[in-house]
Amino acid sequence: MTAEDLVAIERAQVSLRADPRSLPFEPPDPNTSATWSARDILWLGPDEWLVVGEAGSEGSIERELRDALAGQHHSIVDVSANRIAFDLTDGLDLLASGCGLDLDPNRWLPRMCAQSLFGGAQVILHQLDERTTRAFVRPSFAGYFVERLRISASVRS
């Protein structure tokens, strides 16, 4: 892949904070994702998840979560505009130019996710399948993120 191919994609994103025992789905193991009604649940912390769904579905995600968690201490915040996503094909090697995670394809497996840095930009990485890595970045960092990928790709040998 080349950085020029990168196009930001939009997804519904909802930040969920709650007691893991109160969730309407089986919480994923640390640094992995699970699926809940065709949505991805990304583990971000012991009481923090990012629910990712089809673009525009943030309202229904929020409603379902609120119904399920009614009466319990929780926080459900629509963050669909707070990050944008890029899907990188065969991009792990390139990401290793600026990310300290173990992105060896034999260790970084589909369904794994983690919060880290790429260069100076915060990223959430989510491995969708063998070849596709989804990188969530803040929109304000998108230009930097793509440019640093492009520069890193150009000096790879």
Binding site: S75, V77, V79, N82, S97, G100, G119, G120, A121, F141
Partner: protein, 829 residues
């Protein structure tokens, strides 16, 4: 004379001749040569000078421990200074000798080499590709480990299978928990490897040591093993008539290798034999003073040393970190027994060189000891031994041994000095990799950035953000543009992209109690739908940040922060929640970029929103100051807040970031008939200063309390606590002569930062009573204004103070820090 042999040389390919230049002359070498071996092949053993004493010097080693043969490489890449023994010969290489000191090239003078960074994780990292390193790598790979093997030489013999092998790669630093930084260099690429390894194996080998004797620095003196390596690897014989001085049997084996290649070994000298008894004429003197395990990296991680009498050197002691292991000759394995012989006795030690790169001799060590120094660490700092580019690889153990001997102590009394990364010089550009130029620090842009750019905005850096500073029209100067923007806000309406303000959602049954502790004023009494301005203090009681809290629900707040402190405030929230108050049921979520913030301000602001179309009743009765309403503007769902940083009627419209640009354009279109003018941060600064609103970080500097700012009202009374409260009772905070925020009405524009005095005596120094924090030309008032922090400032209203400046003294009257709309009536339009 040194020369290429007709046969031999396991590293070179005689079918691939290469041309290179050294010191202005053209020479031939072969692929696989180092620059040093190619020079020796061409009969050049000297050709270098020492950095301080200007003595002639020659190639002395065949590896990274080289203290003499330093060059600048100018083609086909640039290296300011590097050992010729470590330069892989390539066609067209251009090198110049360098006497110990490199040269900074002019910009554009040097060919650019791409610098990359690369992170990698392995179970086992092996540093050193010799036999022991290869064995360790193979053993680890057979266990199923991912294995990386790095070696600084350009050639690794018999590279093991199933292992990632990186030649030309120097481990420059080993850090805690198996984090190792390694530098890979090639003709076109420099790459810094950030390696995380579960286990690090140091197979860094050993360096042969020389002996201090008079003239031991002269060209033609060479470590015995180096001479053998030139024969074996490169088919180069460094000399024809050879003598050897050795303290160990391995030195004799080196001499045998030269003899087998046709050299005449004319004399062999051992320890205790009188050298003057054999005056022989030779062109090469081999020296072997024993072997030192290469323990630079081991030592840098705090690994211990113990003295070995058999080897007459220091071996690693098993007290290093558990993930770090030393193997092979680095561990002393297989090294020859050696006599502990460091220096030839003499009356005059001024030519017994110890550190050739620093031109330091046994006499220099003796002088340091005579001055009363006893520690090798002090001797190092007095003589600079071991501080040159070669980092004392040949001088470290020798210096310690000579210090011990001269002090009459045993050879184990003191070991060599400590070691720190980097083990070899490395360019900052290499460390930076791609993170330089425009990528030095991320540049953050709002969703409306492109629109600002098309309108000709001049941007300024606010933290990592680019914010429009002003929007010049045509050839307008900044002064004119800012004046126009300010007047538009005061007389019609202006619009500001305020999206960079930090925004945090604070949710939970204890959210109000939590914010009460984080902010000085009481947030728990805020009504749902209302907004309150707040100060956050540090533990020292000083203003750390400001912002507003909107109460979205009983247990739900949206808090704003200053642009630059957004991450700090969230970190601080999390720190207190996680470490001090885990009992509080509160969740915090950053939503800075969820929202685009379109701030419309000015007497026509209501008309602008009406024209844009909204279902919110904008009347002051229905929608009072410091409240917010949810609704629609220009067809987009929004949250509108009536807060004001200008003093004018103001609506901050928060909209989903994905619709931010759309809303901005809709508001601009609707507002144009009302004179709606986009304004930047500079006009914002002027407008808020006219109202005496402070900017945390500009008018405050970490030493300012709310009371210093005249905002003591913001600190609640009663017994409920907030962060920083206790510090506000410190004697220093209660001093009567603290600096206080005031306004200034100078006759001309004051520079920000100008110091203020009571009386311009004309004699320096004058007692300074304060300084200017903000200073602008106010188009609204038609005069310069300023804010300042002045001792007992509030008691000085009406007084005149002076700012003595290089161009003359400016006098100014002290006034209250509100210059415009003192009654505050304009905020309702």
């Amino acid at each position: 004379m040194s020369r290429r042999l007709d046969a031999g040389g396991s590293w070179i390919d005689r079918s691939k001749p290469l041309t290179f230049r050294f010191d202005g002359e053209e020479y031939q070498g072969f692929e696989g040569d180092t620059l040093a071996s190619a020079l020796l092949a061409n009969g050049i053993i000297a050709g270098f000078t020492s950095p301080i004493l200007d003595r002639p010097r020659g190639v002395m080693t065949a590896g990274p421990e080289e203290p003499n043969a330093f060059v600048e490489i100018s083609e086909p890449w640039f290296d300011a200074i590097v050992a010729a023994t470590m330069v892989e010969l390539v066609d067209g290489l251009v090198a110049e000798p360098r006497a110990g000191v490199g040269r900074l090239p002019d910009p554009g003078e040097t060919p650019s080499v791409d610098a990359a960074n690369r992170h990698v994780h392995v179970e086992t990292l092996v540093i050193g590709g010799g036999p022991a390193g290869r064995r360790a790598a193979v053993a680890a790979a057979s266990r199923g480990d991912r294995v990386l093997l790095v070696d600084e030489r350009h050639r690794i013999d018999h590279p093991p299978e199933g292992v990632t092998v990186l030649p030309r790669t120097t481990a420059i630093g080993v850090y805690d928990d198996g984090y190792v930084v390694a530098h890979e260099r090639s003709t076109t690429l420099e790459r810094l490897w950030h390696v995380r390894a579960a286990r690090v194996v140091l197979a860094t080998g050993a360096h042969e040591r020389f002996v201090a004797f008079a003239g031991n620095d002269r060209p033609g003196v060479m470590l015995a093993s180096a001479a053998a390596a030139y024969v074996d690897r490169f088919g180069v014989l460094p000399g024809d008539r050879v003598a050897i001085f050795t303290t160990n049997d391995a030195g004799l084996e080196s001499a045998d290798a030269l003899r087998a290649s046709g050299a005449d070994i004319v004399h062999t000298l051992g320890v205790g034999e009188d050298p003057s008894a054999a005056m022989v004429d030779v062109d090469l003197l081999l020296v072997s003073g024993g072997w030192n395990p290469n323990l630079t990296l081991w030592r840098s991680m705090g690994g211990g040393l113990r003295y070995s009498r058999r080897l007459a050197t220091f071996r690693p002691e098993d007290v290093g970190p558990p993930w770090l292991e030393v193997v092979g000759s680095a561990d002393g394995d297989g090294l020859p027994a050696s006599e502990a012989h460091w220096l030839e006795p003499a009356d005059d030690y001024s030519e017994h060189f110890v550190d050739l790169q620093r031109d330091q001799t046994v006499a220099d060590i003796a002088e340091a000891l005579d001055a009363g120094l006893v520690s090798v660490e002090h001797v190092k700092r007095a003589t600079y031994i071991g501080t040159a580019i070669d980092q004392g690889r040949t001088s470290g153990v020798l210096t310690a041994a000579i210090v011990n001997q001269l002090l009459g102590a045993g050879p184990d009394a003191q070991g060599p000095t400590g070691a720190r990364p980097p083990t070899v010089p490395i360019r900052y550009a290499t460390i930076a990799g791609p993170d330089r130029g425009d990528l030095l620090d991320p540049v953050r842009r709002t969703r409306i950035h492109a629109w600002h750019g098309e309108r000709g905005a001049v941007f300024e850096d606010v933290g990592q953000w680019k914010r429009p500073r002003y929007f010049p029209v045509g050839a307008e100067t900044m002064e004119a543009a800012v004046a126009r923007e300010c007047l538009a806000v005061r007389n019609a309406a202006g619009v500001l992209d305020a999206s960079t303000l930090g925004k945090i959602e604070v949710v939970g049954p204890d959210a109000a109690a939590f914010l009460d502790r984080m902010y000085t004023n009481r947030m728990s009494t805020l009504h749902v739908g209302s907004i309150r301005y707040g100060f956050m203090l540090g533990l020292d009681g000083m203003v750390a940040d400001d912002g507003v809290a909107m109460r979205l629900g009983e247990d739900h707040f949206l808090v704003t922060t200053t642009t630059g402190n957004a991450a700090m405030v969230l970190d601080r929230f999390e720190e207190w929640l996680q470490t001090e108050w885990p009992d509080l049921r509160v969740y915090c979520t950053s939503v800075t970029e969820q929202w685009t913030d379109v701030a419309v301000a000015g007497p026509q602001a209501r008309e602008v929103l009406d024209a844009a179309g909204t279902d919110i009743d904008l009347s002051s009765e229905a929608f009072p100051f410091m409240t917010f309403r949810d609704g629609e503007v220009a067809g987009s769902p929004v949250r509108v807040a009536r807060v004001s940083f200008t003093g004018e009627l103001s609506y901050e419209i928060l909209v989903d970031g994905r619709r931010g640009l759309e809303l901005w354009e809709a508001v601009m279109n609707a507002g144009t008939p009302f004179g709606l003018t986009p304004y930047g941060t500079e006009a914002m600064h002027v407008l808020r200063a006219e109202k005496g609103f402070v900017i945390v970080g500009q008018d405050t500097d970490g030493t300012v309390t709310p009371d210093d700012l005249g905002m003591g009202w913001i600190m609640r009374k009663g017994d409920s606590d907030f962060i920083g409260r206790r510090s506000l009772r410190r004697a220093d905070v209660l001093r009567q002569d603290r600096k206080q925020l005031v306004g200034l009405l100078p006759n001309e524009l004051l520079p920000e930062g100008a110091q203020l005095v009571e009386e311009d005596t004309g004699r320096i120094p004058m007692p300074m009573i304060g300084h200017v924090t903000s200073s602008y030309t106010s188009a609204t008032l038609g005069r310069p204004i300023a804010l300042a922090m002045i001792q007992r400032g509030r008691a000085r209203y009406g007084e005149t103070v002076f700012a003595p400046l290089p161009g003359g003294t400016i006098s100014t009257e002290i006034v209250p820090p509100v210059f415009y709309d003192l009654e505050g009536t304009r905020r309702d339009g």
